[in-house]
Amino acid sequence: MGKVLEARGLVKAYRRTTAVDGVDLTLDAGERVALLGPNGAGKTTTLLMLLGAVLPDQGTVEVLGHPLPAERSRAMEGVGFAAGYLPLPERLRVREVLGVFANLYGIASPGPLIDRALERFGIAELGKAMATELSSGQRTLVGIVKATLHRPQLLVLDEPTASLDPDIADQVRRGVERLCVETGAALLVTSHNMTDVERVCERVVFLAAGKVVADGTPAEVARRFGKGDLEQVFLHLAGREEE
């Protein structure tokens, strides 16, 4: 099975803190992996380095065989990214936002693709809505549609279900699962919702204080820490952070 992502020895220090301290992370094609950890563990900084938006102080990143930052544009052609906290551009309708991003990913005539993608996530009626008038749940769904229009080989989601109602979170989860099954896309997701993670991901990577402290299936990781589930592992690690 080919690798879609290979990061070695990632280190990132900001002025007063080392956010990421020697992280290794690989993803195989079609693999669904969660990057977990308490606040400040280094998840978002790691994601941003994997996407080429932040340069590591040390270490290397290769996405779909393309080294970053040298071949960032080529690498990103096969990657989709959405974050629950990111708004959509102002003064554009949903279809217009999706059309612009489809073009950025090389799709010249995205109309039918946009229709199908909106339907997949059950939001076909939002096409004509102004992007800034959406609820946070609708915005998240549109963000994921934006990230998946070009059928990426690697889908990266940062907190996709944060602050969503349970029914919308379920809609997101089912849509992402279906997309990964249909397209064979690998998934790298950060989340504080351990139920989401256990349902969607086959592997979890726990970060604490910028280091990888566990890597395996949800059951393996829970066993390693002597806990019953990921929720308890999370609380254990967060508690250790406070000591």
């Binding site: 938006a53 003064r91 950025l104 990913y105």
Partner: protein, 265 residues
């Protein structure tokens, strides 16, 4: 693989066209402000003419000055605010993790500013003709290279401002207008460099825009194409543009190295 992908540039141009279409206040810069400027400077010129103290037509000088100032203004402000649109709507991270290259983003901003420049100039030209019977074409075809120089000056200032925004965040946005008006003042847009205090003149001579404005005045006086002035402007641009690009690339590297993108996410 081409350095610039036309589809991606087109997408970004379209993105800005939607904003222009749906933000009525954006038309202020394009239609109202040029008219206001034309009235202010045209009337000052007309007043000077009425006093009879000037050997040359004050109104013509002022109106050509405001027309050409708007070349620099529109080129700079349109490009810089186009970048600000991405920071204001926190869209920068979305773009940075897409295949869009930096040069494609800049190319799209230049194209958008070119269109806005044509609209803004047309408004000034029509207002000058309608209100003061000043025909901008009276300076002849020689104005074309002058306009080209000033457009490049505007874009160069915009590159500098974008670089400063990458380094210092949204607080640097005000420099879009601040740097522009320093350049306009030192370039003698409405007066010959001789009228500028002596201590500042060496700085003025270094600016490509100074030579462009001077060339425009010579053309208005009926002089032949001022090649020496245009060559001096071109030489200045040959230094300023690469310097601005290098500065922008350094600030972009710093932006990525220090993780400043999180300011906009």
């Amino acid at each position: 693989m081409p350095v610039i992908d036309g589809l991606r540039v087109r997408a970004m141009v379209r993105r800005h066209a939607y904003v222009q279409k749906r933000a009525p206040q954006r038309w202020f810069d394009l239609a109202v402000w040029p008219c206001v400027d034309t009235v202010i400077w045209g009337s000052i010129g007309a007043f000077v003419d009425q006093q009879g103290g000037a050997a040359r037509s004050g109104a013509a000088y002022m109106l050509s000055g405001i027309l050409l100032m708007h070349v620099v203004y529109q080129a700079n402000v349109s490009m810089a605010t186009g970048f600000m649109d991405e920071t204001w709507s926190r869209n920068l991270l979305n773009l940075m993790v897409s295949p869009l290259r930096e040069i494609e983003l800049l190319a799209s901003l230049m194209l958008v500013s070119l269109v806005r420049l044509v609209v803004g100039l047309s408004v000034v030209a029509l207002a000058a003709w309608g209100l003061y019977a000043f025909d901008v074409t009276s300076a002849g075809i020689g104005l074309v290279p002058v306009i080209a120089v000033l457009m490049l000056v505007g874009w160069t200032v915009a590159l500098l401002v974008i670089a400063l925004m990458l380094r210092f965040g949204s607080g640097a946005e005000i420099l879009t207008w601040g740097i522009l008006f320093v350049v306009i003042a030192l370039s003698g847009a409405f007066y010959p460099v001789d009228a500028i205090p002596g201590a500042l003149r060496p700085v003025c001579e270094l600016l490509p825009s100074t030579h462009a404005f001077e060339a425009a005045r010579l053309l208005l006086d009926g002089e032949p194409m001022p090649w020496v002035r245009l060559a001096a402007a071109a030489a200045g641009l040959a230094v300023c543009i690469p310097a601005a690009v290098v500065f922008l690339l350094r600030m972009l590297h710093l932006f990525r190295a220090r993780g400043y993108v999180t300011r906009y996410s």
